[in-house]
């Protein structure tokens, strides 16, 4: 009889059930989408923050002081130590290699450009543009196009295996060269693939494939420094401690967390005779910006949950309030308060479950759409969320109905039946 009552109530009051159901579906959908976006926003923004470029730098351990003013290297190129290019792919073998977005080696050399009469001494910077490397069985691509995304080229990026070069914007203007022209560097003619604009010191330099710089320097395999761009976890109490003072268990935990310091430690392990350091300007600020944005989204999500909870309970309250006559009739026929309430709660449960499932699916689609249109990547929904969302939907629906049910049950059946509501 109870089941039949519920069934008939759904069959005969399609419009009302539909209205309440739509409210629950929309509320759950919005809540699901916002929770999904909020849980994933940290990952997404931390990827966007990689636009700022490398957050780690690796230099030779025994290096002499940098003599650098305004990005121009004044150190004699013969000075100082070098890293070995052959060691670089080993970065892919470190524990946190999935977090390493890319790396770019740099080798500045000074060259003479032009004919003998008016030859000029300039800096030529050797690097990877988007070089294909192999580690073990794995192929990957890395270079300045990944680590320095603000570098813009008019013309084309040179091939890493060619001897084409890029000219800095200001230099190209000075020398009156543009993409496709030729230029004489250290006695050889090279093609200018494009003109590079960075807003930094490179605007006055020549940027060439690493092999060309090594050949000019006469030191095959030499790399002066290495920029690494890695996804990291913001600093906390553990990451600020000195790894030397940790006990083994704590050290393992530190080593297996993607802190910028532990990634630096692992880079040092991977590349012999090197010193890895975080670039504090990039690494330190990332954490603050990230935590602000995450905090904001969390609070906004709370607002969304609150608004959808309210929408659901308002719809439920309205739906129940309209059925006072029905309650009066049931009570006049001898139904107790408990059985009337049970009927309403059973209906609410059914509505919440149906609306919750449909809303969860809709919310997942919505989150995916937001991810695709804003971040150009998927926002993954944890299937674990589904039961949690359903439970919340049921609780909110019950809470929204409870007040209205209480009032409907308390109402004198005589007045209800006479229509004097």
């Amino acid at each position: 009889m109870f089941g039949r009552l519920v069934y008939e109530s759904f069959r005969r009051q399609k419009r009302r059930k539909l209205l309440a159901g739509v409210a629950i579906t929309l509320g759950v959908g919005v809540a699901t989408a916002m929770i999904a976006v909020a849980t994933d926003i940290g990952d997404k923004i931390s990827r966007e923050l990689r636009t700022y470029g490398a957050n780690l730098i690796v230099t030779p351990q025994e290096d002499t002081l940098d003599v650098q003013i305004g990005g121009v290297d004044l150190k004699p190129p013969s000075d100082g130590a070098y890293l070995n290019e052959a060691d670089l792919p080993k970065i892919r073998g470190t524990f946190w290699h999935h977090n390493i977005v890319g790396f770019a080696p740099m080798l500045p050399v000074s060259v003479r450009v032009g004919d003998n009469a008016d030859a000029k001494s300039l800096t030529l910077l050797g690097t990877y543009f988007s070089k294909r490397l192999t580690f073990g069985k794995e192929d990957f691509v890395t270079g300045v196009r990944i680590t320095h995304p603000w570098w813009k080229v008019q013309g084309a990026w040179p091939d890493d295996n060619s001897s084409d070069v890029l000219l800095g914007e200001s230099l190209a203007e000075q020398l009156d060269r543009k993409a496709g022209d030729e230029i004489e560097i250290a006695g050889h003619t090279h093609r200018v693939a494009g003109v590079l604009s960075t807003g930094g010191a490179e605007d006055n330099q020549i940027v060439a494939p690493l092999a060309l710089a090594q050949q000019i320097l006469g030191k095959p395999g030499a790399v002066r420094r290495l920029y690494v761009s890695a996804l990291t976890k913001p600093e906390d109490a553990l990451s600020r401690r000195d790894p030397k003072s940790m006990n083994p268990e704590m050290f393992d935990r530190w080593y297996c967390s993607p802190y910028v310091a532990s990634i630096a430690y692992q880079l040092q392990e991977a590349i012999p005779h090197s010193h890895a350091e975080q670039i504090r300007q990039i690494a330190q600020n990332e954490g603050t910006v990230l935590s602000r944005i995450k905090g904001l989204m969390l609070l906004v999500t709370l607002a969304a949950l609150f608004a959808s909870a309210l929408a659901v309970s308002a719809a439920m309250a309205t739906a129940i309030f309209e059925r006072r006559t029905e309650v009066g009739l049931m009570k006049a026929l001898g139904a107790g308060n408990a059985s009337v309430a049970a009927l309403f709660f059973a209906e609410a449960l059914l509505l919440a479950l149906i609306g919750g499932v449909v809303g969860f699916a809709g919310g997942a689609l919505l989150a995916r759409q937001i991810g695709r249109s804003i971040f150009d990547s998927q926002i993954a929904i944890e299937p674990v969320l589904c039961p949690v969302i359903l439970a919340i939907a049921v609780i909110v629906t019950f809470a929204g109905s409870a007040m209205a049910i209480r009032r409907a049950v308390k109402f004198d059946p005589v007045y209800a039946l006479r229509g004097e509501a």
Partner: protein, 382 residues
């Protein structure tokens, strides 16, 4: 004659209902059905508050985040053209152009020799301002007396491994310095020695060649500032630091878009809440509707009555909700950014008009459905 007068009267009444009666019906309806009216008003207030908070945050958070992004340091750099020093009045000119909207810090550089003949870059700057500009510098102790120097960690290992005083020479002139503290940044600063500008100029006589500016504002404002500075300083090269500007623009753009999506979803949900509550409220009063109709009120009058009621509800809800929403936004600002979000009164008209519009829609919709029903049917309770 009399029936003529009667119909005149009816026409006049329906065209121009008595104002005080109209008001009385409005107020009595609200007072007699306190519970239902209160719940409708509550829905309205909450929806308006949520909408206000979201719009306020959306407008203000960008400014708040820009401030956070200024922790990345300078976004504009001014250097002398072709490596020359800047004119002596460059800093004052720049400071008058930015007029308190940012921070300008001068830097002068030379290459000095240590006592054992190694080259090291020495920089002179305003150390108090650098501390504000480059908040990521990890410094053990800032120098505060003259002849004190701040040593980059790698420079310290070369010039003063034991923290003892040391000599530097530049063009036959020697200076004796005390290491005050060490500096670690992970970039070229680690190989430098920083002095106060006064010590630096007394020793070398070299003027600042670089001024770094951190100015917060939108991309357009920064570009306008760069234009102004270039005009004010024809002998200098004014450049944006693209790395910082582009990273900021990108992250801010994404945050803005996410926030807009969230605001739309939340406001839509809040509007839905109002819609379902108000529809229920009006539907519930179909007997009032039927009685008015049975007593000869025109459809226009009845629609007007319900519409006026909804509009009043929307207006009151919007005003109260605006106050609460501003408070919520301020609280979120304080919790997340440690600075309250300033109330934006230009949001008020949007919330006000929006609330009334949603209220009107939710009142008119059920009336439209009820209009086709005979009053007798409703009064009989069918």
């Amino acid at each position: 004659m009399s029936s003529q007068r009667n119909s005149d009267l009816i026409n006049r009444r329906s065209a121009k209902p008595h104002t005080s009666m109209f008001l009385r019906m409005l107020t009595r309806a609200a007072v007699l059905r306190r519970g239902r009216a209160a719940s409708a008003l509550l829905a309205m207030v909450v929806a308006a508050a949520v909408a206000t908070a979201m719009l306020n945050l959306y407008v203000d958070v960008q400014a708040k985040l820009r401030k956070e992004f200024r922790n990345y340091g300078a976004n504009i750099v001014v250097v002398g053209k072709d490596g020359q020093a800047l004119p002596a009045d460059a800093l004052t000119k720049i400071e008058s152009e930015i007029a308190g909207r940012g921070l300008a810090v001068p830097f002068a550089y030379i290459v000095a020799r240590t006592s054992d003949g190694q080259s090291v870059v020495v920089a002179g700057t305003n150390l108090d301002q650098v501390r504000k500009l480059d908040s990521w510098w990890s410094v053990t102790a800032w120098p505060n007396t003259s002849q004190d120097a701040l040593l980059g960690t790698r420079a310290a290992a070369v010039v003063s491994p034991q923290g003892k005083p040391f000599d530097l020479s530049f063009q036959e002139r020697t200076i004796h310095l005390n290491p005050a503290g060490t500096l670690r940044t992970g970039a070229s600063e680690d190989s430098r020695i920083y002095l106060s500008l006064k010590d630096f100029e007394n020793w070398t006589g070299v003027q600042p060649s670089t001024i770094e500016i951190a100015s917060s504002g939108s991309t357009e404002e920064i570009n306008a500032l760069i234009q102004q500075l270039s005009q004010a300083l024809p002998g200098a090269d004014v450049r944006p630091i693209r790395q910082i500007m582009e990273g900021e623009a990108r992250v801010l753009g994404k945050t803005r878009a996410t926030q807009a999506a969230a605001a739309v979803l939340i406001i839509a949900t809040a509007a839905l809440c109002v819609l379902s509550t108000l529809i229920g409220w009006v539907f519930d009063r179909r007997r009032d509707f039927a009685i008015m109709k049975a007593l000869g009120a025109s459809e226009g009058l009845i629609s007007g009555f319900f519409a006026a009621e909804a509009a009043a509800l929307g207006a009151v809800g919007a005003l109260v909700g605006f106050g609460i929403g501003v408070a919520v936004a301020a609280w979120i600002g304080r919790v997340n950014f440690h600075a309250p979000v300033v109330p934006r009164f230009n949001v008020l008209p949007i919330v006000f008009v929006g609330s009334i519009a949603v209220a009107l829609i939710s009142a008119i919709l059920p009336i439209f459905l009820l209009r086709r029903v005979q009053p007798a049917m409703i009064l009989r309770g069918e």
